[in-house]
Symmetry: D4
Subunit: 250 residues, 8 copies
């Protein structure tokens, strides 16, 4: 029940078409979201006019295709599909032709068209190594699907810190930075120490031995001695990209 339906219901009560008892009954049995004060399917969709999201893991290619086509048919311009398998991509590609793009490394599909970025600000997505790219690309594509301008700084980890500093202009000019790193995850602290804007740290499961599938980077980032750094779950590129898009468009 959205505001229009609520008004209609109240109007019906006002003009005697519906009794008070009926109205009480109907309101008690109507999902809260229809009352307008809760977000409709918030965490599964992105509703700033830019994109809808399908979380592809655990869905069959057929399911993904059906949902995506339904969204496009209902006027959605951009549909972002994360954790998408190659099989699902092939099926959707065969159905949508050039209205579908698959980013293999990020396992992200875009059905429809990517929106043009709006606003002047920039989201920077940086990685410690090339192995962190799948997670970083998931973040970058998510932010782009939300209408952000994204600058990618890949392989600028602290063991070759001059590469990071060569891009200091990008760091200083960003509105929000996503720092993606595995192993010791020091990138977030170094960037956090340089930048004046919010830094979203994404630990990745890249590493071996005592990296314990990302635990080392996660703890490192949580303990960052730099201010302005917050952390999302291990390998959660989508979460970081979504939050970056949110901050970028504030």
């Amino acid at each position: 029940m959205d505001q229009h339906e609520l008004r209609a219901l109240l109007g019906a009560v006002a003009n005697g078409e519906m009794s008070v008892d009926e109205a009480v009954l109907k309101m008690r049995s109507t999902p809260f979201d229809d009352l307008g004060f809760a977000k409709v399917d918030h965490h599964r969709g992105i509703r700033q006019g830019a994109a809808e999201v399908i979380y592809g893991a655990g869905k069959t290619p057929e399911q993904i295709t059906a949902i995506a086509e339904n969204m496009l048919n209902n006027g959605q311009k951009t549909v972002l599909i994360t954790r998408m398998s190659g099989e699902a991509a092939e099926l959707l590609s065969s159905r949508l032709g050039d209205k579908f793009t698959y980013h293999e490394i990020a396992r992200v599909g875009i059905a429809g068209v990517m929106p043009d970025p709006w606003g002047d600000s920039t989201v920077v997505v940086a990685t410690g190594g090339t192995s962190d790219m799948p997670v970083a690309e998931e973040a970058a594509l998510t932010a782009e699907a939300l209408g952000c301008r994204v600058t990618r700084l890949y392989d600028v980890g602290v063991s070759g810190i001059h590469r990071l500093f060569a891009h200091s202009a990008d760091i200083f000019g960003a509105k929000v930075i996503v720092a993606v790193a595995g192993m010791e995850g020091a990138l977030a602290s170094v960037i956090g120490g340089l930048a004046d804007c919010p830094v979203i740290a994404v630990p990745t499961s890249v590493g071996y031995g005592a990296s314990f599938n990302g635990l080392s980077a996660l703890l490192s980032m949580l303990n960052s001695c730099a201010s302005g750094v917050s952390v999302v779950n291990i390998d959660n590129g989508f979460g970081a990209g979504y939050l970056a898009g949110m901050i970028n468009h504030i």
Copy 2:
């Protein structure tokens, strides 16, 4: 070496007062920060014109007092002191009189005057229980010292979720929300599911048994199924308040 010094040096080279060799040598041996592209003591200060910060843990009352007075004498209007002991507060109070306020529950001192908030937006700081208040107050006072308007929603945890919903207008109207909770840390997910703005989750060490000093809440918040949620370190109210202030004034 700041930009002015660099210009002076280059000027000296231009007019023959300094040889190229001398200039190379001098530039190689000059600290980077002086070149102006790195932040000076960034993570220890807050430089949006609002406040300087002193991390009080491990500093003697005398050290804190000396630093704070030095800052005030140099024209700083607001000095925020976190993790400040009662002894340190007493000493500073005896020196500064009514130019010093101590918030005992948060163990935060304010030397000088709190800035008036600027801008229209609001930072919401919410807690699951009353035991989370020390951490929440550290976050709230930090944001206020940065010139933010702060709304406190304390004791709105998920076991009495109607109390949270009674404040839904505050949730929907916030520009950024700090969600502070111990035990199972579910508050962050519930708020993240309701709000459209960034949510900074702060796990606290409140709890007993298998809460493992905040680990339970930390993991819970990192795994939040709601989008737009990121996490800072356990009990890190300052970090959350600082980041919230940063986002609020974007």
Copy 3:
């Protein structure tokens, strides 16, 4: 030695057919269970007149089939088979025809007929997301095999909390609730805060990154700030369904 045998032995002593020494010897060497004070095979069977249970993991299709047929031949009306592979289901189906049903998502087989539910009360099984369904279905089918009426509330997690509230009548009317959730496991706390009945929380291994195969949800549920919540092992749908059935029929 059951009570009848004990009486027979004592009778034999009383009428001189057996010496005291022989009786002592016999009693010392007789298994305790025969004395009647221990349950026979308690944890492998459900003996409220409703169902027997076979734990399918680690058993061959042939073994499962043999046990199930033996039970049915001995008059058992319902046999619940958990953790059953598709291969085992096929074999049993070929033997029992329509006297066998396989629930693929829960990997549960029912040989014989499901009992009609008895009593007026209802068991609610709720999940945070659709990925929690396999565990939830194991719980629901177990409760049904025990003669419970089960209401399923799936995908009512806290990030879209209005969906849960739309079913508040089910929550308030339940006699016992099974709350199944992975990731941050906040569902148990929210339901525990709403309901007046026992809540059995089942953490699932659903999630990624720092969910650590269900550890995050497990800790979260153990630390629930709501009263009336207890927890079973990760992914242990059977355990929760069994306990729910036990409470429902008290």
Copy 4:
């Protein structure tokens, strides 16, 4: 807004006293709890007519006293105070005289009078060792404050298992059992293997070395091979007693 207020509002709309716009505005800004579908302060009170609860940890003696007296003055017959310090007990005792009892080992205070137990059934509280008594007594007193008849079986751990078996009649006759144990926590499994009723396992932090403050017992209990066993947080006697009372009075 409860149902009566909702009806009044809708009545006002129906008879033209309130415009639709006004009604929409009012409904959007009214706390949910007023709609009657959420429990008021559920997790802090016990409302089956038996007792109110005060969680004493972190409250001053004065605060506890004020709350308890207020409750008694408002007609509450029994007030249960958990995690109560000796100082708080002394203060309350000086105020209430013989209307207050303090159970030192459990750190539980009872203000007012303990209710007479009702119903025929019994709650059994069993411990592995005498060191588990504080937690067990918290559970037992909580259940008694809820009007339960409680049988205590203390020091019946598995290393002297005959002591447990000597009380098999109590085990078989219980409606619900609280099994409290530290160290290896095996008591829950043995009781779960014997009993036909729900068993609530409470791991305690009793033990040393690799017991890791209750982690060993917690894991042990979660992995119990017996059916009908669920677990609450380490040392959470109150939670177990509350749940036991809930099940006992179903």
Copy 5:
């Protein structure tokens, strides 16, 4: 009910003094331990004719004194008291005079007289460092209280492995060895590699940093590449000494 009582009961049945029904009732309600097939208070006492044990932790000096005197008065020659505080030792000393000895480093008291060792074999107790001595002495004194001859090899850790080898004759001549070590716990493996007899490894909480209160030594000992090594709980000198005594007197 011991064997004599059982015989008496059966005799009463045999000669008609007791009816079969009465006998059944009596047998069903008699503690199992009385039937003679379970050990009475096994894990708290040592019953090979050598010593009784009191676990002193959590007992008041008065309680310990009362129990010890009661044991001595009942003819017990040796009473071993572990985890005994200095206060308790003083009280017992003032009561028993020279019939009491206190070993401060091990926090072990001996009331009565130490038995003379019997048998030809020897128990070796070895430590990695001097800091492991409290645990080692608890083990050694326990074994001596059980009538074992004990050879102490202290401070023979692997960083000065020649000191261990200087005692190779002791190692080769032992019937059972208790290896006590903290930090990296390598002593157990080295001794296990040299000796032909059972080695009982006791990890201690000695160490700092990543020793994690004995976890490092515990894991190290469990993973020993030498055969014949088994492990008891961290700092559990009594457990090791008791087991060593058991093996020594086989």
Copy 6:
């Protein structure tokens, strides 16, 4: 350098055939093991006249075959091969015919003949469930290969504790007991509470969810409240069987 060589060297010095300097040089550069005070290949062989052992993991079928044949050709009567793959078993079987037996469940091969047990005493190997059998059989076969008489008590876990008690005569009559259990590992404590002999506990990785691949059983066993219990590594049946054999033949 063995004792004979040492004597020869000293003799050469005594009769002037070798200078002191040459002798010093030679002694400094001679391997220690030749001096006779270290065991040769102790931990890989069992040298009480019963069996040699090959640890099969990580060895090719050809390697295993070559080693086993070499041992048999050198007069070894029994060769025990642990962690042996089916492929290796097939190859060895094709070479040795009926002089080789493969125990599939334990993945243990016996080349040559099993020794007849000697001595009067018995080793009991008990398991909590049937899933623990592979580990238990590895222990039992190891003990048998060492000349022990072994009684197997399988599936006597604590959830059906009467089954264990039905075998109390075996428990009381054992010289040493190996208790093998996964999940909550309570079997070791219950047996330790009943028996008067050493109990070697083997945690297994059997279980799911929060059993964490045997960690739950491991911690449980280390924290056993029963005396006389020690623990080996998770799933280490060989280690337990070897130690049991060692104790049995003391």
Copy 7:
């Protein structure tokens, strides 16, 4: 911008070809590494004139081949490729013929020629067991590619400690020792106790049960009671070999 470019720029300023403003702008926007004070790609290359390194994991055979050929064509004499798959080795072998060697056990490839060792000193690489060889060989080949003389002492673990002592001359003569061990990792402490030179400990993931994929050896090595021992990541043979080469050529 390297030193030559900096000089050119300053020269241009000196002779008026470039204005001060232009120079400031250019210097602010030039990558730092060009200034010559940061190492170019340090951690991916070894630049003591001996070898370049390619980390093979996550690279396709084609990528590896292209990089290696490019290096060789640019005059590099030795290219070390770690974590190299057999497929990649085959491809490179087909291209380079006898200018390529593949060490299968270490998964290391050498393109070009191994340098002759220089200097008098020796690096010792020791392992606890044969299963540690892959990690040890990675270390040894890395050191050899850096021009070190390497002595391999394999299978000298502490359970047969005489084998280690037989090589004491190698231990005493080494300039730096790499100690590679899994399971309990005691080798590092024993070697650290014998040697006077730096010992680099490499925990391996060899082991089972509670070795937790190398955690046991890692903790053990970190807690070594011997001085001069430091630790690298689990299975990080390359890191140890690189550091050993660095120290050896000091």
Copy 8:
């Protein structure tokens, strides 16, 4: 038995003063260290002519004093005492006067005189923050006691990375670097990325929340993506300083 004694013994055999049998017996029963091939008390002393070490933790002021005086009386010029309490320092100071210096922050005492550094090379000790100073000073003083020239770079952590770069000349000129840091421990990676020499990383327990007493920094340092970095135990300044001294004087 040192070489001289060995020569004497062999001389006695050579000239007939001692029989071969007596010599064999004596050699078998003499501690190995006396044979000269094992280090005497290696890990407790530093024997490069510079200093002896006393580990002060767990020793009484009297014990420390006695040991130190004994060493000085035997000609030792420098005695380093780590983990020394203020009380012990006072006592030693009262005995030795100006021949004793106490470094309070590092809790290190120096009895006798500090050696003058020898050699041209330098050890750099760097810390992330001022709170890491106690550990860093322990490292620095240890290295100085070994005759090293030490450069201290304190408070150069990555959140203000320009401060580190301002000291790049020190970094590039060091022979070995000790990097001391808590929290996220990123300093080791950044220094490892800049330097060409061995870097010894020391995690400290500085931090809060999810730093878990140094675990975060420890894991971070073990996973360093820079080559040439190895790690010692948490807070183990002595170990790092000792190893640095060893490498510095190679």
